[in-house]
């Protein structure tokens, strides 16, 4: 009697052959789905990262012949890069550029999205116009900017005509404003991105809490700060974080327009790495800088991902609750 009970209880813990083969099939299925990604990582990304690590510790320039004979120099290159003031400035410039353009994109994008959050006549027209800059190829932005921004060019002419004052900044050749100019271009180019995300976020906000607050007599201002903004927080984070990361990597506009000049005024990290590697041919130094930038970016990205995940979970719970309620 007791023996039978024991064996009966142990049956569920021993999967049937059919269940086993099902599990094996699922396992095979999983691996075959993942195979392309794993192959790409193993044969494209890993060798590249390995080479980069190799060059970081071996001094090699293109004049040396085969790269496999490069001399081992230990941490010398890291020391060289870390004591290079030009690298330090490039870091500062990149961070400033990314911060400035992120904030700019956010402010423009948020203002536009907020103005357009409810349907009105002509909404589709404005939406179409507003996303066009984002659909312009970055290199094209750079060359068009050149056509617009020279000192006696159309932009200065137009502003002078409208305001009546003689407006003649040298957008591209004055080292003090060259970086802000590129920043403005970045904002022009990518404000649509923040706009699109924030508009979708605003549209997804449930109307009940806002109506409830209004019925309770909250002012427009309070509704905005205490109801709408907190509900929008995940999307705001998303817009800021993604824009910052993309701006840190910005290369085509800066390079095609100014190649880091005038002087070193627009020499951001990507531009400096590019110059070191492809104009001065200091492959190893470039590799070390790349390595440091990669580490910096990994730290930033991991932090960003933590933020995004937390916000996404909050959002998921909110949507789940909303679904359960309605």
């Amino acid at each position: 009697m007791s023996v039978a009970a024991v064996s009966a209880a142990s049956i569920p813990s021993q999967p049937s052959p059919r269940e086993l083969s099902r599990r094996r099939a699922i396992k095979r299925f999983r691996w075959s789905i993942l195979a392309p990604l794993i192959l790409l990582l193993a044969f494209v990304l890993m060798p590249v990262l390995f080479l980069q690590l190799y060059f970081s510790f071996h001094q090699w320039t293109v004049y040396l012949g085969s790269w496999s004979d490069a001399e081992y120099v230990g941490l010398d290159l890291f020391l060289e890069v870390l004591t290079d003031p030009r690298f330090g400035w490039a870091v500062v410039r990149s961070l400033a550029f990314a911060t400035g353009s992120t904030i700019g994109c956010f402010l423009v994008g948020f203002a536009l999205a907020y103005l357009m959050r409810r349907p009105f006549r002509g909404q589709a027209f404005y939406y179409t116009i507003f996303i066009l800059p984002m659909l312009t190829v970055p290199v094209v932005v750079a060359y068009t900017a050149e056509m617009l921004l020279y000192q006696s060019g159309p932009l200065n002419d137009l502003i002078s005509r409208i305001t009546g004052i003689d407006f003649k900044p040298m957008w591209l050749t004055d080292p003090n404003i060259a970086l802000p100019t590129v920043m403005l271009l970045e904002i022009w180019n990518w404000a649509p991105f923040s706009f699109i995300i924030l508009l979708a976020g605003l549209a997804a906000i449930p109307s009940e809490p806002i109506e409830a607050a209004e019925i309770l007599g909250a002012s427009r201002w309070r509704v905005f700060w205490e109801v709408e903004l907190p509900l929008l927080r995940p999307v705001i984070f998303l817009a800021l974080v993604l824009r910052f990361l993309e701006a840190m990597a910005e290369f085509p506009k800066t390079w095609a327009l100014l190649q880091g000049g005038p002087g070193t005024a627009t020499e951001t990290l990507p531009v400096y790495i590019f110059l070191t590697t492809w104009q001065y041919f200091e492959i190893s130094k470039g590799a070390v800088m790349s390595y440091l930038v990669m580490l910096l970016m990994i730290v930033i990205v991991l932090f960003a991902i933590r933020l995004l995940r937390r916000e996404k979970q909050a959002l998921d719970t909110m949507y789940a609750r909303q679904k359960a309620a309605g």
Partner: protein
Amino acid sequence: MRKSRRRRLTAIMRYVLLTAWAIVAFFPIFWMISTSFKPDTQWFAWPPVYFPHPPTLSNYLNVWFGAEEYAATQYAISSQKPLISLLNSTIIAGTATLLSVLFGAVMAYGVSRYRILSETRMFQLLMLRMIPPIVIVAPLSLYYSTLGLLDSMTGLILIYFLTSLPYAVWMTKSFIDEVPREIEQAAEILGASRWRTIFEIVLPLIRSGLVATFLFILILTWSEYLLALIITKTQVTTLPIELSKYQGSTEGRVYGRQAALAVGITIPLMIVGLIIRKHLARGFSFGMVRR
């Protein structure tokens, strides 16, 4: 009475502000298009010429087809072949995007239904996209030169495939998540294999989502600059690289020609973008924004 007046005032303010930004957003694009139709004396004129008079097609004919009927301007560059770049760009961006949407959609299915990647792994996948490409271009070009992939379409396609895969997975997953599982369970009961379920049931159901993802990633790969700049040399060039060559190899300013090329590169992208404008938010937001 006062309330309705205030409302009208806000509406007017809104139109003023939106129109102001619309002008800012559109003016450079207008200038590019306008310049592309200007004869060479108006490219760089003072005071600036806003509307070409008379408009001419010579920039387009010269840049895209190498027509030289305006020989005085000597800007025709015989060694450059935008039509071949156009073909290259189409093949490279098209193939890479197709691969990434196809494999991305299958992976997304696996993630959505079998959790083959945990949420942590999904976010780690995003890192592939978030690390600036500049940090790998030098070793990548050396690696490619050893493999003989430098200056080849395969090389670019591979790296574009890899870098756009995260977007493809995330975006298609947001569509697959919306497909009710009951349909697949029914197919399974009827004896369809897992692969058949994917290709004959699930993917056809999210057809419009796949098209949106395809076009979205096409925008990214079509306009990519840095990797193309390093990996292409002479045999293969993409359109953005072709445009930047126009700058480097000529004397003086050839705004009209550049603009004609730029318009040709940008207009297809804008059309594509406007087709999928409703899905753009989804593509960029990694499941954070739903509709």
